[in-house]
Amino acid sequence: MERLVAVWLADLEVERVDGSSLREFSSFLDALGELCPFVDPLRRGLCLFPMRAPRRFYGTEEAVLERLYEIVERCGLPSPRVGVAQGVFSAEAAARRDRVVMLGEEDLFRYSLPIEELAPKDVAATLRRLGISSVGRFAELSERRVAERFSALVVELHRVARGEQSEAPGQRDASVLRALGRETRDTRGVDEQLGFFGHRGAREQRALAAAWRVRSRLGEAGVLVASLRAGRAPEDRDVLVPFDAPEPRRSPEAPWPGRLGSPTPVRTPRQPLPVSLTDSTATPVTVGVRGFLSGDPVRLDLGRGSWREVTWYAGPWPSVEEWWGVPRRRAHLQVVTDRAEAYLLRAEGERWWIAGVYD
């Protein structure tokens, strides 16, 4: 399970009347982008990012945390509580205690937590009556016994207790994602919200007339207009629709935990291009269940006999879906080749694809 940094800004947990807490949280998330391109806002005032990639760059976990505190300070926010532990549930618990759980002590830490920290009140009360007071005691119950006696929710909590699942049900507040999405759109101003072709000046009519000519030449999908929607990876956020479509399809309701920060690829292939990535022993590089690479990638085969040497890479950043066991498991990797080309690669279904080209 991934070692995560949880940052808890108690000050931003409560919504202020002027909405400034959400704005501050949003700009803090953007600022955190310099440590990790995928930052996952779990709830208002609480966000997570994986420790591994920044540690590889900064050398030690301490150095990463130092940078983190600098960023918090730069954002003008009061001192946060920071926790480092394995998995989302433990990381949050560690943050509440402002504690870095030592490597190798992750299980002990999780076992020592009171059962109330994991289970909702009613479930915790039942477990207490059974003499189960800590997460560790709960984890000792056999899986079958739990499945026989309790609901699906408790079975899931049990998996978290045993360290087989990263996030506990109920930990995440999806509405914060929606709120953050709204926040981002709102800062674009009223003008933006008028949408495409809100008011039609002479210039616009001229442009649209030209677009119609191209459309009649190339067909319906010939001329497109673009807009953004919420999403995690750049290839999820692009919206390109025919220019005369009634409304650009936007789905601001979609959650966008930990989107990739700037810079983003200038080209994002709609039809993913399969590539292969191999290590120094010519073995295909894969992303393991725990989100680690099987080896350092050294060669990128682009197909049709063309290949590049990989001179640098960062990641992988496994996607949220993977952390929570939703079928779609993805991980992103940034690579630079010997020709100074940069690609965003995506691992999905045991294969690598080009998700973006930094052209």
């Binding site: 001229r206 030209a210 190339l218 080209r267 994002t268 292939p269 709609r270 640098w312």
Partner: protein, 227 residues
């Protein structure tokens, strides 16, 4: 001066006092006015690279770069300020435009028309769009004939559009006002990609020889920046 204070008598009796008009006034004013309407704005960092610091209408700019070396970023960044000023842009032949990156570059997507895969009809599509936009970015999928390239350039002059062509394996086979060549690029990295420095070789029709520039594109915010 308030017009209603004048009686007709006085109006005909005296000619209103006014300073003599300098004879060269028209000559002084016109070029400036024209210069504004005849040019399009550029993002700040480009002003040291593009002669005059603005894009002149009716001109063609050729951007040449190897694959994935920043050619598309350069072209779109050149067009960004114009769209932000309320002008329209067309982007022909750039497959799979990355929308997030384009927003970062400063393009106002409300005024950008994309023709991502015009295939063989790219020149016709470009010519169609020339009638309606102020700046047109074209990445020809095939090497055009020199006749075709010249015809497009002359259409561009007539329409007062700025044409930015991006080429890879070939060079644009017609004379251009400004030629930008990406000579090399270098990524700055930390625990992730941070920014890229592009070495640009700039040639203009007006002056012989070329000049070298370094620009950061994209910078950590995805925009263009000075080195």
């Amino acid at each position: 001066m308030s017009g209603c204070g004048y009686s007709y008598e006085r109006m005909f009796a005296f000619s209103p006092p006014r300073p003599p008009v300098p004879t060269d006034l028209a000559a002084k004013i016109r070029p400036t006015l024209l210069a504004r309407s005849r040019t399009l704005g550029l993002e700040g960092p480009w002003s040291g690279v593009i002669p005059g610091g603005r894009l002149r209408r009716g001109t063609t700019i050729a951007v040449h770069a190897e694959s994935a070396q920043g050619g598309v970023s350069v072209a779109l960044s050149l067009a960004a300020a114009a769209t932000a000023e309320g002008l329209w842009a067309g982007v022909v032949g750039v497959r799979d435009p990355g929308v997030v990156a384009m927003v970062d570059l400063g393009l106002d997507l409300r005024r950008v028309l994309f023709v991502p895969s015009p295939a063989a009809a790219w020149a016709e599509s470009a010519a169609d769009l020339l009638e309606g936009v102020d700046v047109l970015v074209v990445q020809p999928p095939l090497n055009p004939s020199s006749t075709l390239a010249r015809r497009l350039s002359s259409r561009v002059r007539e329409r007062g559009v700025v044409l930015i062509v991006v080429t890879r394996q070939f060079v644009w086979p017609a004379p251009v006002e400004v030629g930008l060549r990406v000579e090399g690029s270098q990524w700055e990295t930390s625990s992730r990609l941070v920014s890229r420095v592009l070495r640009l070789n700039v040639s203009t029709r007006e002056r012989a020889g070329t000049s070298c520039h370094e620009l950061v594109l994209p910078d950590p915010h995805g925009r263009v920046a000075s080195r």
